[in-house]
């Protein structure tokens, strides 16, 4: 047959023969690339992605953008301190490193090696992130009533943070470097080194942060100190007990009886305050972090559990499937919210941190993904490529994860977006019921202040956090819808 003539103009009508020659239809780029470009064609999904980017931006930069600690404080004697930076935790520093390094790696340097660069950067960042979380937990345990004895020496040491952060990062990095998916040894080592640097630095910088914040800058300013604040000059944990549930735009000065020339006089609560007197806007900005991390971490855990169990059920079938599916049914029989409420309620308050909440949500919401994966694997296991992989003698984990999983993962990944949306909703409900994380600002917690016990309704406590929750959930749902339409073959084209 003659070669396809690609430089001819496309005719208005093509015959089947011409289609065979390659005239008249655009070449495909690859399954996920095609799906992604379909997603990007839909305005709703694009808008959703923009909003999610905005939320992610605030999640990373909120401690810098909204802080009750001034960026720079100069005492009347001339001593300059940097309270805001001192108040940043290890996780804050880590996220700042992420927020700055990822765009830098994306834009700096040639476009050709971009994907590979981002890949090893992300590898290093994941290792650093896990190390920072572990190190923060260790640091937290130092402040508890029964600190572990082997950690005590680091408490008062100057390089305590550096050592702990570095040590944990080396351990975690070692584990990751041993895993099979990082490609080259050099890249692995570079990623680990990068991770160690980031983790140790973050932990060190956040090591000496006092566990309870104090805000007495107003008094210092009255005594003549000069302070420059960030965009939103309040922290979520900064409570003005007399200013409970004040309306948006209320100024700080009059209610605190400050003289008019006091620099803090004109500071206003742009979106009002909640029942504890804490600024709503700063809480909303800090709550972005919770919504992103709930999305990533909880759904990540649920994905891990769900896909693994689903793969095992689908692949083995038989009585393995029978037994494990009963477990899935049990989880499906009780509404997840009930289980979560009970689980959250039995946790003593000091254990209700963000991390435990994320873990709990992840541990209870995996059933949907397990069912999808199981259905896909049940279908796939009879297909020829699986049979041939097995007959060649490939080990089980290779058959499952290298061959079957990439083919069966599409519906689960579509479900991921919806799972993130529902995780955010669930977290909002838990926070509303006062069962959410204690140490973290949350949109749901703000909602809880909206209707007081006397029945008084303050609209700003419902409308602003409500808009934030609604837009975030809507964004994930829109992206999920677009992804599903892009992947589902039945809805793709009209049948010819």
């Amino acid at each position: 047959m003659p070669p396809s003539s690609t430089n001819q103009p496309v005719p208005a009508v093509v015959t089947g023969v011409q289609l065979m020659q390659g005239i008249g239809h655009a070449p495909a780029k690859g399954f996920w690339a095609d799906a992604w470009s379909s997603v990007l064609k839909r305005p709703g999904a694009v808008a959703g992605l923009c909003w999610i980017t905005v939320v992610a931006f605030f999640a990373i930069f909120s401690p810098v953008l909204a802080s009750g600690h001034p960026i720079m404080l100069t005492t009347p004697e001339g001593r300059t301190t940097w309270p805001m930076l001192a108040a940043l935790t290890a996780v804050d520093w880590y996220l700042l490193a992420v927020g700055l390094s990822v765009p830098a790696a994306y834009f700096a340097g040639p476009a050709a090696g971009r994907a590979a660069r981002i890949r090893w950067l992300l590898g290093g960042l994941v290792v650093a992130g896990i190390s920072v979380v572990i190190a923060s937990l260790l640091r937290g345990s130092l402040d508890s009533r029964t600190p572990p004895a082997w950690l005590l020496p680091t408490r008062n040491s100057e390089v305590g943070g550096l050592m702990v952060g570095g040590a944990v990062a080396v351990l975690v990095g070692g584990v990751f470097a041993a895993l099979p998916f990082a490609s080259k040894l050099v890249r692995r080592l570079t990623a680990v080194v990068f991770a160690v640097v980031v983790a140790a630095g973050a932990v060190h910088l956040g090591w000496d942060r006092p566990s309870i914040e104090r805000f007495d800058y107003v008094r210092q300013e009255a005594a003549g100190a000069k302070a420059s604040y960030s965009v939103v000059p309040f922290s979520p944990s900064q409570r003005f007990s007399e200013l409970s549930r004040v309306a948006p735009g209320t100024q700080l000065g009059p209610s605190q009886n400050l003289p008019a020339e006091h620099p803090a006089h004109d500071r206003s609560f742009v979106l009002g305050t909640d029942a504890f007197g804490a600024d709503v806007l700063s809480q909303m900005l800090h709550a972005c972090r919770l919504s992103i991390s709930i999305g990533l971490v909880s759904t990540g855990i649920a994905l891990l559990i769900g896909v693994t169990l689903g793969a095992i059920m689908g692949y083995f079938g038989g009585w393995v499937d029978l037994l494990l599916y009963r477990v899935v049914e049990i989880f499906m029989a009780v509404p997840v919210l009930f289980l979560l409420i009970v689980a959250a309620a039995v946790l003593p308050p000091e254990l209700r941190t963000t991390y435990t909440m994320m873990a709990i949500i992840g541990c209870f919401t995996w059933t949907g993904m397990a069912r999808f994966t199981r259905a896909e694997f049940l279908k796939l296991r009879n297909q020829d490529f699986v049979q041939s992989a097995r007959s060649v003698g490939l080990p089980l984990r290779s058959v499952l994860f290298k061959h079957m999983l990439p083919n069966g993962v599409a519906p689960v990944l579509v479900d991921t977006s919806f799972a993130i949306a529902s995780a955010i909703t669930v977290e909002a409900v838990l926070s509303y019921l006062n069962l959410g994380p204690i140490d973290q600002a949350s949109w749901g917690k703000l909602l809880a202040s909206a209707v007081s016990s006397e029945g008084e309704f303050k609209w700003w406590l419902a409308v602003f956090p409500g808009i934030a929750i609604f837009l975030t959930v809507l964004s994930y749902n829109l992206v999920g819808e677009a992804l599903r339409d892009a992947i589902d073959p039945k809805l793709k084209k009209a049948r010819v």
Partner: protein, 510 residues
């Protein structure tokens, strides 16, 4: 068909047992187990006369807090199971269920300070024939209090003995017999002889003797109570199928701490309220969602389809929490619109209302009980239904679109069936099947939404029962509530299975 139903029913039982296991493990795996929160509330102090101690004794009796969690689970399972093994429980006139008393915990290392352990004494049965019911209850309460005190004292003395044992062990240099957290390993000392020359021994022996004293008293109390119980002074609980071996009775969910009432009194009215809300919501959802889904499918790509799809996504993304708060803030509150009532399911004077609306004396318009309840249900039901619209409508549309391309539609058209008949007789009938399966996921979502809605609108249903129980740390209610919700869900799933079998002949006749 009947075999199919039977199979589904039988499969429900292991699922139910699994649910009870899951729920119990979640609650009991809290640090410290079930009794921990009770202790936490009282700051760790344990005095025999405080309400906390009573709670703890109650829990100890019911579950055996010192036993492994799995035993606690089986004890609880035995109580809530309708099929009961062993001798039959009895029921007080107040409704409380009582059982034969459990044994007092044995003193450890009894050989060290006594010749032998006393055995359960024989007690003369108090004549109960001539006693009135009130007197019997009073007698039971007295004996019960005695028994609880005896048990409590024994446990307290044993604890003291054990801490003294640690001191003794440290003084004797027997570090191997002490756990890192300071508790002694009793088994370590079983085969040793006490070193009577130690200074700590005197104290230890005295404490041991105190244990013995408490134990004896406790045994006596147990024997008296058991003797009283065995005469069966009260009515038996449930129906004895094989006396002494097997009986069936209502599940015994225990007593709620906060109110003192049996949990079985609290649950049915709460369940009725929640079910009313949900059962009213379901037809509304179906009546709105199915036509809109069909229309969107038939007019695929049109303005209606795209528009209604967008509206539904927005609705689906709107959390129930937010909708409820906004509704109650703007629509119910007097500050703003005040169209709807703020709280509860009935107005305060509802019990005096007539059922139907009418004109009363003096020409006044009376709402009537029915309209009043519907008016109160308006906002809560509205908050429950709108999420369901989105899910069901999308599913209907997707199912119809999928079936449009089916081969049998082509066959039907080739036979000459009109387009309208193709849609309604062929496509829609096949689309019913996924609609029924989607019910399986919608219903638990609605039950969960009830929690929030009931809390916001102060409706006394299962959801608010749950929240209250959590705030009061009322574990019995928490456990019972979760199990009952699961049962409701399972029944709903069974109904869905039946409907599914009716709709799809491939299922029933295969």
């Amino acid at each position: 068909m009947t075999t199919y139903l039977l199979r589904r029913l039988l499969l429900m039982i292991p699922t139910l047992i699994g649910i009870t296991f899951l729920v119990f493990m979640i609650v009991a795996s809290a640090p410290g187990g079930i009794g921990a929160a009770v202790l936490a509330q009282a700051g760790g102090a344990m005095t025999a006369n405080s309400g906390v101690a009573q709670q703890r004794a109650y829990l100890e009796d019911r579950y055996g807090l010192s036993d492994p969690v799995i035993f606690q689970y089986f004890r609880w399972l035995g109580r809530i199971s309708p099929v009961k093994l062993g001798s039959q429980a009895q029921q007080l006139p107040s409704g409380e269920v009582i059982r034969t008393p459990r044994p007092i915990p044995q003193p450890p290392l009894a050989t060290w300070y006594s010749q032998g352990l006393p055995t359960l004494p024989k007690v003369e049965a108090a004549a109960i024939k001539d006693l009135s019911e009130e007197d019997r209850v009073r007698m039971y309460r007295r004996l019960e209090r005695q028994y609880i005190e005896g048990r409590f004292n024994t446990v307290a003395r044993i604890t003291e003995f054990r801490s003294q044992l640690t001191v003794y062990a440290r003084e004797r240099g027997l570090e191997a017999g002490v756990n890192p957290d300071g508790t002694p390993i009793v088994e370590f000392f079983q085969n040793l002889q006490p070193d009577r020359s130690s200074t700590e021994w005197v104290v230890l022996e005295a404490k041991g003797k105190a244990v013995l004293e408490a134990y004896t008293a406790g045994l006596a109390a147990q024997a008296e109570l058991a003797g009283f119980f065995d005469q069966r002074p009260f009515e038996g609980y449930g129906v004895a199928l094989l006396p002494g071996v097997l009986s069936i009775a209502w599940p015994d969910f225990g007593t709620a701490f906060s109110s003192g009432r049996p949990v079985m009194d609290l649950i049915p009215p709460a369940m009725a309220t929640t079910l009313t809300l949900n059962l009213v919501a379901i037809p509304i959802i179906y009546m709105v969602a199915i036509p809109s889904g069909i229309l969107a499918a038939v007019r695929r790509g049109s303005l209606f389809d795209v528009g209604i799809g967008s509206v539904y996504i927005a609705l689906y993304s709107f959390p129930v929490v937010l909708a409820g708060v906004l509704a109650i803030g703007f629509l119910a509150n007097q500050q703003y619109l005040g169209w709807f009532p703020v709280a509860g399911l009935h107005a305060n004077e509802a019990s005096q209302m007539r059922f139907l609306p009418a004109y009363g004396e003096g020409g006044q318009w009376e709402r009537g009980w029915l309209v009043d309840m519907l008016w109160h249900m308006g906002l809560p039901v509205m908050c429950l239904v709108y999420t369901g619209f989105a899910v069901l409508s999308k599913q209907t549309r997707a199912a119809m679109l999928e079936n449009f391309n089916a081969d049998y539609v082509r066959t039907a058209k080739a036979k000459g069936v009109s387009n309208k008949d193709v849609i309604f007789k062929h496509v829609f009938r096949n689309s019913l099947i996924p609609l029924i399966t989607i019910f399986v996921t919608v219903f638990p979502g609605m039950l969960a939404g009830s929690v929030v809605v009931e809390r916001i609108f102060t409706i006394p249903g299962m959801g608010s029962l749950m929240i209250e129980a959590i705030n009061n740390r009322d574990f019995e209610v928490i456990l019972a509530n979760t199990v009952m919700i699961a049962v409701v869900n399972l029944v709903a799933l069974l109904v869905a299975d039946i409907l599914y079998a009716l709709a799809d002949p491939r299922v029933a006749y295969s």
